[in-house]
């Protein structure tokens, strides 16, 4: 049985809860934060049944940066210390709406970028003081290149990846590991009825990839790993061609 303490922002997301399941089986303790209290209780009961030693929850809206910082403070208090922190909250938003309505774009940037940065600011302090632990930041392959179909979401995730990269450099040498995860297409409830191609991966598979990258203290992990090569190609496409592409 492990005495690992796991703190998760956005704990009801499919990827985060699949990762939590894997850690629960080893007996980890959790502090879970998400917006919907009943969903949060559902996830907490699930993790306890799977073998989690202790699970505490905090239902709150993380759209406000101050709320994200308060969540970190409460989480540290509940767990005593944080061994693994997962920043998984976010919204996809509507690209079409965000293109013409700045308020919609701003909401995506606040939830997907400002709020994670607020949480990371507090977490970095907590973890630096402890001199150990891991921070797992959920980015996206959408953040690797601006595409017309989702550049607002992509901008938030891309900026978050840059922030995490800098933070990794700052905390390196302090014993704290920062992992940026970039999932590809994931078969989440939101995409359940869509026809799947071979690129889709289950949240369980993505969680397995995250766990492996976390164990081997990787810096950046594409999950599943073949996305690394897809994105390498995507970044190679010259701008004068890519700007004409409808992707």
């Amino acid at each position: 049985m492990s005495d690992e303490r796991v703190f998760i922002l956005g704990a009801t997301s499919a990827i985060a809860s699949a990762f939590a399941e894997r850690r629960a089986r080893t007996g980890a303790s959790f502090h879970l934060v998400a917006r919907d209290a009943r969903r949060l209780d559902t996830v907490a009961g699930h993790l306890k049944t799977l073998g989690a030693t202790r699970v505490t929850v905090d239902a709150r809206d993380l759209a406000e940066p101050a709320s994200a910082q308060a969540a970190v403070t409460l989480g540290e208090k509940a767990l005593g210390a944080i061994d693994v922190a997962v920043i998984a909250h976010g919204i996809l938003g509507s690209q079409a709406e965000a293109e013409s309505n700045f308020a919609a774009a701003r909401l995506v940037l606040e939830v997907d970028l400002m709020s994670p940065i607020a949480a990371l600011t507090s977490l970095a302090d907590v973890m630096e003081r402890a001199g150990k632990g891991s921070i797992i930041v959920l980015g996206s392959v959408a953040g690797d290149r601006g595409r017309r179909s989702n550049y607002v979401y992509g901008a938030a995730k891309g900026a978050l990846a840059l922030y995490a990269q800098g933070l990794r450099a700052r905390l390196h040498g302090r014993g704290v590991h920062v992992l940026t995860v970039k999932p590809g297409f994931v078969d989440t409830p939101m995409t359940a009825g869509l026809p799947k191609n071979f690129l889709y991966a289950s949240p369980a598979r993505v969680a397995h990839g995250i766990e492996r990258a976390w164990r081997s203290r990787r810096d950046i992990a594409y999950v599943p790993c073949f996305w690394r090569w897809i994105l390498w190609l995507v970044r190679l496409v010259p701008e004068r061609i890519s700007k004409r592409m409808h992707w």
């Binding site: 009943r38 969903r39 559902t42 996830v43 009961g45 699930h46 049944t49 359940a192 009825g193 026809p195």
Partner: protein, 438 residues
């Protein structure tokens, strides 16, 4: 978030578009906004015919309801969401000394599907159906109400929901009673028999002493004697004979594409069955429950072997204890027909009563046969076979059925009127419309 998609049932014969709505949270408002009536829950899609299809309506995809609520390790009570599969339950409970009360032939079924079809397994002769181990059910109805039912509370709705084919509402959570076992490993035996009289002798010898029994029958062989087959029986291994550690589910290989329609011919079935019948058998060995209960789970998508045309599985139960006599009307019809009986399973059913008023199992013998779909002729043949079963005082299993007439359905399930009073008016299925001529 409705999306149109062509979801298939396990027989892969019908390709119709459905509007699909994933259900991920039992606590969310119901029915979901934008879901057009009628509704039908869809779990793993392991029903063979049209009982899990709802062309023109909405399928509620329940695999997102895949969380455990609580496991009481003292009493063996498990509460979980309805989209949890028996595979997930088995993985959870094997290390605890508990075991699911009933396991069917595949682990890839959801708890909701197991309740809706009141499934049975190799221990039916002593343990009864899955429904007998269900203590409570949380049900969401299309009128927006949330009903918690059990034997003592809303007993009528409870009895209609077990074997209710998903038509009484959406099951979101259930409480199951697990059983204590000496070990999860199975001490198993396989014994060849050459005739149904030999099968009867094995049943008489085994059904009292073995918790699990089932027989594979060779109906593809040329008619000389027989039919023969292999009788499987087993008990949970005693701690001193169990293998060390906990049995883990093996890796699966996936059948990557449909085989051509001609792949499963009479000659191929005959050759395959001959090889299976005459393979060397280990008389007694301690095996993993994964291999003992789910021999076909090792090949993901094995149903694609039947090609694009798909296949039927026919399953009926007939009263009687002497196999040669009880099964004669069915076996005569099968052998007279030009159809190819690829995989046949025979099992005795016991008299443990299910709480479900529409439950399929009843005392007697149940025969299940796979037939490749060779066209309308195959459907007509199966319809005749269904009538033969009900004429013999038996019943046809809706989870497998794609052809039975309304009359055969009503003969199989005499309490259908009582059932239809509990049916949620906002729920329906291809099967229900077919047998009710709605």
């Amino acid at each position: 978030m409705a999306s149109a998609d062509a979801l298939l049932s396990w027989g892969r014969r019908q390709r119709e578009r459905h509007s699909c709505v994933p259900i991920s949270w039992a606590s969310d408002p119901f029915p979901p906004a934008g879901a057009d009536l009628p509704l039908l829950p869809y779990g793993c899609g392991r029903s063979y015919g049209d009982s899990c299809l709802n062309a023109g309506g909405t399928l509620l995809l329940t695999r997102g309801l895949n969380r455990f609520v609580e496991l009481d390790r003292e009493t063996g009570r498990l509460r979980c969401e309805a989209g949890v599969t028996l595979r997930e339950i088995l993985e959870l409970v094997i290390p605890t000394g508990w075991f699911p009360a009933v396991l069917p032939g595949t682990s890839h079924v959801t708890v909701g599907g197991a309740i809706a079809n009141d499934i049975h397994g190799k221990n039916h002769h002593v343990g009864g159906t899955f429904g007998a181990s269900v203590e409570a059910i949380e049900l969401l109805r299309s009128d927006g109400s949330r009903r918690e039912c059990s034997r003592d509370r809303e007993g009528g709705l409870f009895a209609a929901t077990i074997a209710g084919l998903g038509l009484t509402g959406l099951v979101t959570r259930a409480t199951l009673r697990l059983k204590r076992v000496s070990s999860p490993w199975i001490a198993a035996e396989a014994i060849r028999f050459r005739s149904l009289d030999e099968f009867d002798a094995l049943v008489t010898e085994s059904d009292r002493q073995y918790e699990y029994t089932v027989a594979w029958l060779d109906l593809a062989a040329r008619e000389t004697s027989g039919p023969g087959g292999i009788f499987f029986r087993g008990n949970h291994a005693q701690p001193d004979e169990a293998r060390p550690g906990f049995p883990m589910a093996g890796r699966r290989v996936r059948l990557p594409a449909d085989l051509p329609d001609w792949a499963i011919s009479r000659t191929a079935a005959r050759a395959f069955n001959w090889l299976y019948m005459n393979r060397p058998l280990a008389r007694r060995s301690v095996v993993s429950p994964w291999a003992f209960f789910f021999p076909l789970d090792g090949i993901e998508g094995w149903n694609r072997a039947y090609g694009r045309r798909g296949f039927f599985q026919y399953q009926a139960v007939v009263p009687g204890r002497r196999a040669a006599e009880a099964l004669r009307p069915l076996l005569d019809a099968i052998r007279a027909a030009p159809e190819v009986a690829t995989l046949t399973v025979l099992k005795t059913m016991g008299d443990v009563r299910s709480p479900g008023i529409m439950s399929f199992p009843r005392p007697g013998l149940t025969l299940s046969v796979d037939f490749p779909d060779r066209g309308p002729e195959t459907a007509r043949f199966l319809s005749r076979l269904s009538t033969a079963a009900t004429a013999a005082g038996g019943a046809v299993y809706p989870a497998k059925d794609a052809v039975m007439s309304g009359a055969d359905f009503r003969a199989s399930f005499p309490r259908w009127k009582e059932f239809s009073r509990h049916r949620d008016p906002g729920f329906s299925s291809g099967f229900w419309r077919r047998v009710m001529h709605e």
